[in-house]
């Protein structure tokens, strides 16, 4: 196994160019004013990982508070109920709006997408930079909001609680509004890039599946996020001017808020998971050294998931007071989501079948994704089933389900993607040994943390609870211990990745034998990506010896 890099398909390395995108210009200003998609991608990566760290700390704090029934540790009270509500709210807001939504598209997507298309940059480089600065503004507003009192509404901002509670709700929703526009700009950019900047010879079905995933995501970003914008604007107006849209005391309807919110936030779930699936669709053929099985089916399933995501939002509201007719329709539509998800899963397994599989760190993450996403998807069937959902909704079962999809799916894929493209981004290889150890730890810790929460939920433990019945204590404790294992794995990952930066550049241009265009340029790429405009001569994921030799 120590023979980490199997390089039979690696193309012969050229001498590494002296000037690359990292050292082409110097100084902070050259980064802050850059319009290079690679640098913006790297800055986004640093930003979202910072947000991930803060959100993760809040998560560990939540779990630690729930460790014991009386929230005491070494004789001291960890958090009061008020503080606890703020901490889990901040965990949600930061993880959703500052981390997961921009994670894969804005960080990895920005870096990789133009490279995969053989383009010099995205369609609108300045818009790209503007998007990053909007993200920063949103992040700063969120931090200011946190300092001046934070919020205790839950990340869903349900009215009328959010319109009546104290705290910096207005500031936080303003941050969400701005982050929404950051996301819209990224989406617009990617759609235009995919439409207009593909390399000569690259038709729609010659695009890597990562591009298909990001393209589908971008469609959702463009079409759903504006509704989030108007929703938080209405929420702010309701708070400041009491306009009476959502507040029942002034004749408004709280359930209407939920429609508005989920019209965005359900598609947003697919903004989060589609890019994760997109990464997996790169990792599996590369490390199986076999062509993608059912390429078109996977591409179509990405687009159809994007479209389906717009017509199932009501499944968040089965018991929220929407009409019974709407509930039945939304439940029926929800089951449709299972089909494209299943198609992806089966095609990934089909790709592995008769492959030539090596288990480097990115592939370990890909296999973790398959297992965890399978659990996340299958438990989704429980929640789509009306009679069972009545019992399970608003309990830890839901918490566990969406963590399996969001963290077990997207975050695992994101970390796998970072490992996969790390040599391309930094020009350096990380420690394969530590990579595998950390991945194993994260996988085990994750299941310890969240498998228990399915049981807590089905036993009737509601979510967002500070105090819980004593009977749930052992499972809560087990879950908390699991969260420490995840934390350990994450810190380990951060440590060896950062350590690799201290080495001289040692990564070959194509360490994994990838077939997509980003591997044809140097590691790290030069400022304009390619020495000369690449021309596509073969489809991606073609591992036939005669074409590889080409």
């Amino acid at each position: 196994m120590e023979n980490a890099i199997k390089s039979q398909t690696r193309i012969a390395d050229r001498p590494r160019p002296k000037i690359n995108y990292l050292n082409a210009t110097h100084g902070i200003w050259s980064w802050m004013s850059t319009v290079d998609h690679k640098r913006i991608g790297v800055m986004y990566l640093v930003g979202v990982l910072g947000a991930f760290f803060v959100g993760g700390m809040f998560a560990l704090l939540v779990r630690l508070t729930l460790l014991t029934h009386d929230h005491m540790l070494f004789g001291r009270l960890l958090l009061t109920a008020d503080a606890y509500n703020r901490v889990f709210t901040l965990h949600g807001v930061i993880m959703v709006f500052l981390f997961i939504i921009p994670s894969v598209p804005a960080a990895l997507g920005n870096f990789v997408l133009p490279l995969m298309l053989g383009a010099k940059d995205v369609a609108f480089p300045r818009l790209n930079l503007a998007s990053f600065y909007l993200w920063c503004t949103g992040a700063i507003l969120a931090v200011v909001g946190m300092i001046f009192g934070a919020i205790d509404t839950g990340w869903t901002f349900y009215t009328p609680y959010s319109t009546t509670t104290n705290g910096t709700v207005t500031l936080m929703t303003m941050a969400v509004f701005i982050l929404g526009f950051s996301s819209i700009f990224t989406g617009i950019n990617f759609v235009a890039t995919v439409h207009k900047l593909r390399a000569p010879g690259m038709g729609w079905f010659d695009m890597p599946l990562f591009v298909w995933g990001i393209y589908s995501t971008a469609i959702i970003q463009v079409l759903a996020t504006p509704v989030l914008g108007i929703t938080v604007v209405l929420l702010m107006l309701e708070r400041v001017f009491s306009i009476g849209i959502f507040d029942p005391k002034l004749g408004g309807d709280p359930v209407l808020f939920q429609h508005f919110f989920w019209f965005y936030s359900h598609p947003a779930v697919y903004i989060m998971i589609l890019p994760g699936m997109a990464i997996i669709s790169e990792l599996i053929p590369t490390f199986s050294r076999k062509t993608m099985f059912g390429y078109r089916a996977v591409a179509y399933s990405s687009v159809s998931l994007a479209l389906l995501s717009f017509i199932v939002w009501g499944h968040h509201m089965f018991v929220a007071g929407q009409s019974q007719l709407a509930t039945v329709i939304f439940s029926a539509l929800t089951f449709l989501v299972a089909i494209p998800s299943g198609v992806k899963m089966f095609n990934w397994l089909g790709t592995m079948y008769k492959g030539n599989i090596s288990l480097e760190t990115p592939m370990l993450y890909a296999i973790s994704f398959l297992l965890l996403f399978a659990i996340g998807g299958l438990t989704g069937i429980f929640l789509g089933t009306l009679s069972v959902d009545v019992h399970l909704t608003d309990t830890y079962f839901v918490v566990a389900h969406f963590h399996y999809v969001m963290m077990g799916g997207t975050v695992i894929a994101f970390i796998g993607g970072i490992h996969y493209w790390w040599p391309k981004m930094t020009g350096r290889m990380y420690s394969e040994k530590w990579g595998r150890i950390a991945c194993t730890l994260i996988f085990i810790g994750f299941n310890m943390t969240f498998l228990t929460q399915f049981i807590l939920g089905s036993r009737g433990m509601p979510r967002r609870y500070y105090n819980y019945l004593e009977q749930y204590q052992p499972l809560h404790a087990f879950s908390t211990v699991g969260s420490w294992v995840i934390g350990l794995g994450m810190f380990m990952t951060a440590a060896y990745l950062l350590a690799s930066l201290r080495k001289p550049m040692d990564a070959p241009d194509n360490p994994w034998g990838g077939t997509t265009l980003e591997w044809t340029t140097s590691s790290p790429p030069i400022e304009h990506n390619f020495e000369e405009q690449p021309v596509l001569t073969k489809a991606p994921y073609d591992y036939r010896p005669e074409t590889v030799a080409h």
Binding site: A123, F124, L127, I184, G187, I188, N189, V191, A192, H195, K196, L197, V222, L223, A224, T225, P226, V227, G229, I230, T231, L234, L237, F241, S242, I243, G244, I245, L250, G251, G252, D253, L256, F260
Partner: protein, 207 residues
């Protein structure tokens, strides 16, 4: 150049789609609240001055026409006409805002305001036993102010963009070969017009 022009256009249309959905959220809210308070909305809409609304519609349509003439002149490279038509468009936009100002001040004087401040009750018929008027009247005006207000903000942004384009046109930055900004601002301006085309009947005309 052609490639960049097409790319910019796709980008602009994507942005316009987001605008449609941004306003769309308010249209949905308006529709649902009208379903909730049908009688109140009919009575409330009688307070709006139909002639002023119609006047503004005409003004905006004319401004769309001058805008498209500006784009046409840009395509033909006629710098003077571009500036002229852009200035005319800005003029129409200012007239529109002027009329809106009169309408708004009328609403404020009459107390035709969102529920919390609504106090024009004389002719309202939907009341409870104690004589309190329904919140539906105020809700109508909440939507009136939000939707025309958001639209007004777009007009203001439009005036800013048009002025910027007019200055650049005056400096001679555009030519037959490069007039992308004029075209894009034109698209934006037409969308603002297009949204008003729906706002006008919804608020002023529907019984």
């Amino acid at each position: 150049m052609e490639q960049q022009f097409d790319t910019s256009k796709i980008g602009m249309w994507l942005f316009l789609a987001t605008e449609v959905l941004l306003f769309g959220g308010l249209f949905v809210g308006f529709g649902l609240m009208q379903a909730r308070y049908p009688q109140e909305f009919i009575e409330a809409h009688e307070h709006l001055q139909r002639p002023l609304g119609a006047l503004n519609t005409v003004v905006l349509l004319i401004s769309s026409f001058t805008m498209v003439m500006g784009v046409l002149s840009a395509q033909r490279g006629d710098k003077k006409k571009v500036v002229m038509f852009l200035v005319l468009t800005i003029l129409c936009a200012c007239i529109f805002l002027g009329v809106k100002y009169f309408e708004y001040s009328h609403k404020f004087e009459e107390g035709l305001l969102p529920p919390r401040w609504y106090h024009a009750q004389s002719t309202d018929t939907v009341r409870d036993a104690a004589g309190n008027v329904s919140h539906g009247y105020g809700t109508f005006f909440a939507f009136y102010f939000m939707m025309t207000g958001l639209h007004g903000i777009h007009i203001l942004v439009g005036i800013f963009l048009l002025s910027w384009i007019a200055v650049r046109a005056h400096r001679g930055e555009f030519s037959k070969a490069y007039y992308t900004p004029v075209d894009l601002v034109g698209l934006y301006w037409h969308l603002v017009d297009l949204i008003w085309i729906y706002l006008f009947p919804l608020f002023y005309l529907i019984k």
